[in-house]
């Protein structure tokens, strides 16, 4: 009995953490959209919500993070009313998630969270450009890739540093104790 009890509580904790992270990710997206910097690179953004996805990948399993990514993308589409571009953001988020989950699993010894966050940010850009080039059937959109690569490094470093500060703080909370076994 105690083992099944423990299991139930773990599932419950996971669900709670995903829900909280999704809420924070959405709030971060909203806060980001209010920052009045007009970068002259189309499609470039800070990607603050990636902090939560990184933290989720760190504490929970990849499939939990996938749930978070889908939730976050759907919720932001609802809030910003960008349903017509949902396809593009979903493409970008899922590709970014795949790259980060893979690196988290395989490259953890060589890459820090900063490297993983850079790779994830750039994968997001590439995924969106790929979706756009499929829809418009032109490769000209990749014209903006170099600028996005450079800005992706800068924002990726910022997001990675933020995640590096967030994760140790969260680890001290009792809620995250059971996720730190491995």
């Amino acid at each position: 009995m105690p083992s099944s009890d423990e299991e139930t509580s773990l599932v419950l904790k996971r669900t709670v953490v995903i829900a909280i992270f999704a809420a924070v990710a959405v709030v971060l997206s909203i806060a980001e959209s209010m920052i009045p910097i007009n970068i002259q690179i189309p499609g470039a953004k800070l990607g603050l919500a990636n902090i939560m996805i990184l933290a989720c990948l760190y504490f929970l399993r990849a499939r939990d993070a996938l749930m978070l990514v889908v939730l976050k993308t759907l919720l932001t589409a609802f809030i910003f009313g960008t349903f017509s571009s949902l396809l593009f953001s979903l493409f970008g988020s899922l590709f970014s998630f795949a790259v980060m989950a893979l690196l988290m699993k395989l490259g953890r010894r060589r890459l820090s969270l900063i490297g993983i966050s850079i790779a994830g940010g750039i994968a997001h850009n590439i995924g969106q450009l790929a979706a756009a080039s499929i829809v418009f059937s032109t490769l000209n959109i990749f014209y903006y890739l170099p600028a996005l690569l450079i800005s992706g490094i800068a924002t990726g470093i910022l997001v990675g540093i933020a995640a590096k500060y967030l994760i140790p703080s969260l680890s001290r909370l009792a809620l995250f104790d059971s996720f730190l076994k491995d």
Partner: protein, 130 residues
Amino acid sequence: MKRGDLLLITVIVAAALLLMVPRWVQNGQSSEKNHNNPLTAVIKVDGEVYKTVTLTKEEQTIEINTKRGDNLLKVHDYGIEMVDADCPDQICLTFGFKTNPGDTIVCLPHRVIVEIKGTGGEGGGTDAVI
């Protein structure tokens, strides 16, 4: 920061530079020709040509009305820019003023794309350079 991070950053910067350098060379060559052969901008909605305009020095505005929303383009000084759009993300307005063949302006939510083409055989833009 680990050594792998620095390696990753170096690789990405190198890739970005590799993609950018041939473009600088090409732009340097084409900017001289711009004034004798005016460029054209092809406006496509949903993959189909909506309108083709010549990029003149004189100002002209082009309204695009799609079933998803409206965009307003402005042509002046041999270039084109997106000046207004009612799309939710407004990313199309950040593309700025475009004057070179191969340049594009995209409005994803409205499925609008503006591509600048050179007259005659040149143009084709980035995919021509390898």
